[in-house]
């Protein structure tokens, strides 16, 4: 940073002090044109339809490679998921997209801009729902939305009706004047999502949006996200919940240890890496391993986990009949459809939620 830069900057502070001081507090709401940079994607170097393009994106922390040369593209309006266990590099990827973490190498373009050099401009298009709610506890519910909009340099004349509209959307209209710490976990999450929409983002980044919520709160949230998707907002979602990925994602990448293991739609991934059905058997924790070894030949594949044995077959009921025919009596048995959990198990040999 140059000394001249500092001097010029101090001069700006002085000018700005004069702007603030002469009048009443309403002068504080000076509309700032410079920050209202809702840029249209003017010069996308790569695929013009893609709003996010990552090429060999890499992030290392010392010896640890958190994200290892991953490449992907997300077209506008798609709902794109990053699926993987904790520590797979999902959140780091999200941070690089938001321009709050600098990549070690590789290319990244968000709506034609590099988030590293154009952080404020890129983030003007982004809505971010972080893993942990970071609502402003010193402000009331509605104030949270308005103040957050001010961070984007948006005028109050736009923010006031917008805040009410978003409170309606988040089903929080009757809480507008409540304190944030009086909200339930699900309400806080919805408020965080409402807040992320204040700048009408083209891309919404959701990092583990429903972690820690009860089933009812999750379903309300999914419904809201689905509506956004219908409105054409591009959703980028990390999750380690399979059902969430299946509900919300058009396409996803399975990430493990910073690498992409597979890519595709939830159904195509299941078709490719799993069977139609799965038979889950429990023989008791001591016997699962020994009996698992005796189940060879039933279905396409047998996976023995500490708590249960999984048999992958196109017809789960007939697989269960074969098990019975061998005079093996499981404590419980369950036939279900294959899920992304099974895809992950197949790809990594580990289950997703440890």
């Amino acid at each position: 940073m140059s000394f001249c830069g500092i001097a010029g900057f101090l001069q700006k502070i002085v000018q700005w002090l004069f702007q603030v001081f002469p009048g009443s507090t309403s002068v504080l709401w000076v509309h700032n044109e410079a920050t209202r940079s809702f840029a249209t994607p003017s010069s996308s170097q790569m695929n013009p339809a893609a709003v996010i393009t990552a090429e060999k994106l890499t992030k290392t922390y010392g010896d640890l490679t958190a994200v290892d040369a991953i490449s992907f593209e997300v077209p506008a309006g798609e709902s794109f998921g990053l699926l993987g266990p904790n520590g797979a590099g999902k959140s780091t990827t999200m941070k690089m997209i938001g321009g709050v973490s600098q990549r070690t190498s590789g290319k990244l373009s968000i709506m034609g801009l590099d988030p590293e050099t154009h952080g404020p401009e890129v983030r003007a298009h982004l809505g971010v729902v972080p893993q942990q709610d970071n609502l402003d506890e010193e402000l009331k519910v509605r104030e949270n939305l308005i103040v957050y909009g001010r961070y984007f340099g948006l005028p109050l004349s736009y923010l006031r009706p917008k805040a009410d509209e978003l409170l309606e959307f988040a089903q929080l209209s009757d809480k507008a004047k409540s304190r944030v710490d009086a909200l339930s976990g699900g309400m806080k999450r919805r408020l965080t999502i409402a807040r992320s929409l204040i700048n009408e983002p083209k891309i919404l980044l959701l990092d583990e949006p429903t972690t820690g919520l009860d089933p009812q709160a999750r379903h309300i949230l999914w419904d809201r996200l689905f509506r956004l998707k219908e409105q054409g907002v591009t959703l980028i979602l990390t999750t380690h919940y399979m059902d969430e990925a299946e509900q919300l994602c058009d396409r996803l990448i399975v990430v493990d240890k910073g690498k992409i293991m597979a890519e595709g739609s939830p159904s195509s991934l299941i078709r490719e890496y799993s069977t139609r059905e799965v038979l889950e058997l429990r023989f008791g924790s001591e016997r699962n391993a020994t009996i698992g070894a005796e189940l060879g030949g039933i279905g396409e594949r047998v996976e023995t986990l500490p708590d249960r044995v999984l048999i992958y077959a196109d017809n789960g009921e007939s697989a269960l009949e074969q098990v019975s025919a061998r005079h093996l009596r499981p404590l419980t048995s369950l036939v279900r459809r294959s899920s992304l959990e099974d895809v992950f198990l197949r790809l990594t040999g580990r289950s997703l939620v440890d």
Binding site: M1, F3, G5, I6, A7, F9, L10, I13, W16, V20, T25, L28, W29, V30, N32, E33, A34, T35, R36, S37, F38, A39, T40, S42, G98, G99, V100, S101, Q102, L113, E116, T117, H118, G119, P120, E121, R123, A124, L126, V128, P130, Q132, N134, L135, D136, E137, E138, L139, K140, E143, V147, Y148, R150, Y151, F152, G153, Y158, N199, E200, Q231
Partner: protein, 281 residues
């Protein structure tokens, strides 16, 4: 959802303007939003904190000036003229309170918001850059310092300690002092990871408060201690305000002001560099 068409129209130029900015990804010229947020939060926060910050120097002034003053009698002020002990320590106490207020706002307050409230993380996911946040927070600290200084100067006037119109200048001068400490304090806080480390700041501030010619002249010390005190920032603040309070200016006045200007520039460079490292890693 409606779109912001006028925003899109000016989009290209805004993007290009951003490329030419000195601080590119660090600054989006919207520190005002951070200030507005602070004022809105202050509205709902307890006023007790604000009031206690005002009374601290007033209590010192009453106990030392009114209590100890008659025993001490008159002392030699800047330029050699005789002034009451209360008039001698009052500007020094204001300098200390400017320092303490700025340090509190830029260290403990920032430390909490950075590490616990995650406020800055939220802000930095918007169009704001780290420099917007730094300027906004420092400005808020100064605004508070301005309120305290104005109140304290009024108390001085009521106690009959103001004898010249020049004394009105101690208000902007104490804001200058607060600016110096606030810009440095925030940079230093960014190095702190635990509460124990935060205590080091007090360990440094308390002796500086007691020994920076606050309660007695620097001449009581041997020469090398004098040099040490003169190298530290608070002494310059104490001397500056003391000179202004009785309208006795000299070449040293310019040195004191220059000391703080340099401190502000270095402090902002440090803070910005640190914020870049912390939040744009």
């Amino acid at each position: 959802m409606s779109t912001l068409s006028e925003g899109q129209a000016q989009a290209r130029s805004a993007t290009e303007a951003a490329r030419e900015r000195t601080f590119g990804p660090l600054y989006s010229r919207n520190a005002l939003a951070v200030v507005a947020r602070g004022l809105m939060a202050a509205k709902s926060s307890t006023w007790l904190v604000l009031v206690s910050g005002f009374f601290e120097p007033v209590l010192y002034l009453v106990s030392m000036g009114v209590g100890l003053g008659p025993i001490v009698g008159n002392v030699a002020g800047p330029g050699g003229q005789q002034i009451s002990y209360a008039a001698y320590i009052a500007p020094a106490l204001l300098a200390v309170s400017a320092m303490n207020g700025a340090i509190y706002d830029s260290t403990w307050n920032v430390f909490f918001k950075m590490n616990f409230a995650k406020l800055y993380q939220g802000m930095l996911y918007t169009s704001l850059g780290p420099l917007d946040v730094a300027i906004g927070e420092i400005f808020l600290a100064l605004l508070r310092g301005l309120l305290y200084a104005t109140g304290f100067t009024a108390v001085m006037a009521v106690m009959g300690l103001v004898t010249t119109v020049w004394a009105i200048l101690i208000i902007p001068a104490s804001v200058l002092i607060a600016f110096g400490f606030a810009s440095f304090g925030m940079g230093i806080t960014s190095f702190m990871k635990t509460f124990q480390q935060m205590d080091w700041i007090n360990f440094f501030l308390l002796p500086m408060f007691l020994f920076s010619a606050t309660f007695y002249p620097l001449s009581v010390y041997p020469q090398y201690i004098q040099w040490l005190i003169q190298a530290l920032p608070l002494w310059h603040g104490v001397e500056l305000l003391r000179q202004i309070s009785i309208g006795s200016f000299s070449a040293a006045t310019a040195v004191h002001v220059a000391y703080y200007l340099v401190m502000i520039v270095l402090g902002i460079m440090l803070t910005t560099g640190r914020l870049r490292k912390l939040f744009l890693k």
